[in-house]
């Protein structure tokens, strides 16, 4: 049984296809592993592996972030306000995975409505980082990342609005891919900021990320912004980076990055050059304003999206109200956590008459400038690279009293989200946290032009092989 858990998803799927292992056996092995969750990674776990269609992912268990609606299965988005909600339908992303043969292993913990960078905003308690249980796994897809890194799932899906796949993948030492906006349908994915939200895989390696992306992507009549990836996705096989140009933002030199993270980043640049890739600096002058623009645009959209939670049609209702308005108010006061309330207030403020132009209007123009910076860079370069996060995993409770410090974790991931372009985080090495302690994973982010997922996966694959990252947290199940 233990041997099965060591396989990557692609390896296991090949064995299932060859008839060496049954899909049921593979799923059951992982169901047992998931039952040993001590990280609070899961909010719900499958009791059996019923279903199981034929297909490229036959028998593959997938941990699904609790933001994806799954018919008849509790779906909370990490919020009290959806406690007990069992949707009458399944999101397109999950449906496409199950149609390819995959089965839902469990629903993973997350920051409430995907608002957070540490998973500490979940109404159901924080997820612990499998590398050090005193530290955060990152967020908002923290449960998905911890499940894969901690040997509780072979692969997972999450959502990324400003870094919520890439940052937890980096902090947990696994691969996380945010595809181009529009690559995967958002139907049935509980909305946070609709112009930014995108589904993507969290996996042990780049090959598995490609495998999942291939199943997930595609146009969906239920999401008018979904366009899919033309030509699909193939397993990456590139072994060198000859002829490819990688841009390092020239502003990076003065950005606040932990010394250990910077050292791993620079060592990774050297590996790119060893593989024949070319590295040069390129200006991305507006990227530093990404956080400012993002924390206007995302809360503005959220304040509108979250208006639907009113205690009338589904989810919780606070009983005992004297009239309808009081029912709305008491339901939302009790149902939403502090960070969600903070963002609803920021968003409504930014959209209010008199402040709209100064905040929302300006933020949308900054978004245009950030996207234009990337377009200009991609005229001369194939990719832009940065550290995924300015630090390794930080301690539980370390940043909960300072929302702005928490937001700045997303400094390197937000610009790609605003531009709608794909970006992947791969584990690049280990570094000691500032202040000392055992070494923790560091993520390396590669961003590509819109819909250039295949070249992005090819480059990440070649680099992954050269890095040879084999770090696993102590005591984690799996391989």
């Amino acid at each position: 049984m233990g041997e099965l858990l060591k396989l990557t998803v692609a390896e296991a799927a090949a064995k299932v296809a060859a008839g060496e292992v049954s899909g049921d056996e593979y799923f059951e092995a992982w169901r047992e592993a998931a039952a040993g969750d001590e990280l609070n990674a899961y909010l719900w776990r499958a009791e059996d592996g019923a279903g199981g269609a034929e297909g490229p992912l036959a028998g593959v268990p997938v941990a699904v972030k609790d933001i994806f609606c799954t018919e008849g299965v509790p779906t909370t988005a990490g919020s009290r306000i959806l406690e007990g909600y069992a949707p009458p339908y399944t999101s397109t992303a999950v449906r496409r995975l199950t149609e390819a043969g995959a089965r839902v292993l469990g629903k993973t913990n997350m920051d409430e409505f995907a608002m957070g960078s540490s998973n500490e905003n979940s109404a159901y308690g924080p997820v612990l980082n499998p590398w050090d249980r005193e530290r955060v796994p990152g967020g908002s897809s923290g449960g998905s990342a911890a499940a894969v890194a901690g040997g509780l799932a072979p692969c997972a899906i999450g959502t990324d609005t400003g870094g919520s796949i890439r940052q937890p993948a980096a902090l947990c030492g696994i691969v996380g891919l945010k595809p181009t906006y529009g690559a995967i349908s958002r139907y049935g994915m509980i909305a946070f900021a609709s112009s930014l939200d995108q589904c993507g895989p969290l996996t042990r390696d780049v090959t598995d990320a490609a495998l999942l992306l291939g199943a997930l992507q595609g146009r969906d009549p239920c999401d008018s912004t979904s366009v899919g990836l033309e030509g699909g996705v193939e397993a990456p096989s590139r072994e060198d980076l000859k002829g490819l140009r990688f841009a390092v933002p020239s502003e990076l030199a003065r950005d606040e990055i932990d010394a250990g993270v910077r050292a791993v980043f620079e060592a990774t640049l050297a590996r790119i050059e060893d593989l024949g890739g070319e590295i040069a600096e390129a200006p991305l002058p507006h990227a530093e304003h990404g956080i400012s623009a993002y924390y206007v645009i995302a809360p503005a959209e959220a304040s509108s999206n979250l208006a639907r939670y009113d205690g009338v049609r589904y989810g919780m209702r606070k009983e005992g109200a004297r009239d309808l308005i009081e029912m709305y108010e008491s339901t939302r006061a009790e149902g939403f956590g502090a960070e969600v309330k903070r963002r609803i207030m920021l968003g409504t403020y930014a959209l209010s008459s008199g402040y709209y132009d100064a905040y929302y209007g300006r933020a949308q123009r900054v978004r245009t400038k950030i996207a234009a910076d990337f377009t200009a860079t991609f005229a001369d370069f194939d990719f832009v690279v940065t550290p995924t996060s300015p630090s390794v995993a930080f301690g539980l409770g370390e940043k909960t009293d300072d929302p702005l410090a928490m937001y700045l974790n997303d400094f390197f991931t937000v610009p790609m989200s605003l531009a709608g372009i794909p970006a992947i985080s791969i584990p690049a090495g280990l570094a000691e946290p500032e202040g000392g302690g055992p070494q923790l994973p560091v993520g390396f982010q590669i961003a590509a032009p819109a819909f250039a997922e295949q070249p992005l996966l090819e480059a990440a694959y070649a680099l992954e092989r050269a890095i040879g990252f084999e770090g696993r947290p102590e005591g984690a199940g799996g391989g």
């Binding site: 949707p87 206007v296 989810g315 309808l324 308005i325 403020y349 933020a363 123009r365 245009t368």
Partner: protein, 71 residues
């Protein structure tokens, strides 16, 4: 919370200094053209399935407290 919100808005205010004259706003990153589909009715979910999730369903409807408090 007021202090936290002010701190966040102070950070956001950095974009006030940028010259954005003539820059068009971006509301969406994918260039899409509006298309029309055939106006054909499709089945929707059965009423009982939808009402199953409601906190207080009643006679095929969502029951809510009165909009006006009783005096």
């Amino acid at each position: 919370m007021a202090g936290e919100l002010s701190g966040i808005l102070d950070h956001v205010d950095r974009i006030a200094a940028l010259d954005l004259e003539g820059v068009p706003p971006t509301s969406h990153v994918v260039e899409l053209e509006n298309v029309l589909r055939a106006d054909k009715p499709r089945p929707s979910w059965p009423k009982d399935v939808v009402l199953e999730q409601a906190p207080d369903p009643d006679e095929g409807a969502f029951r809510v407290p009165s909009p006006q408090a009783e005096a």
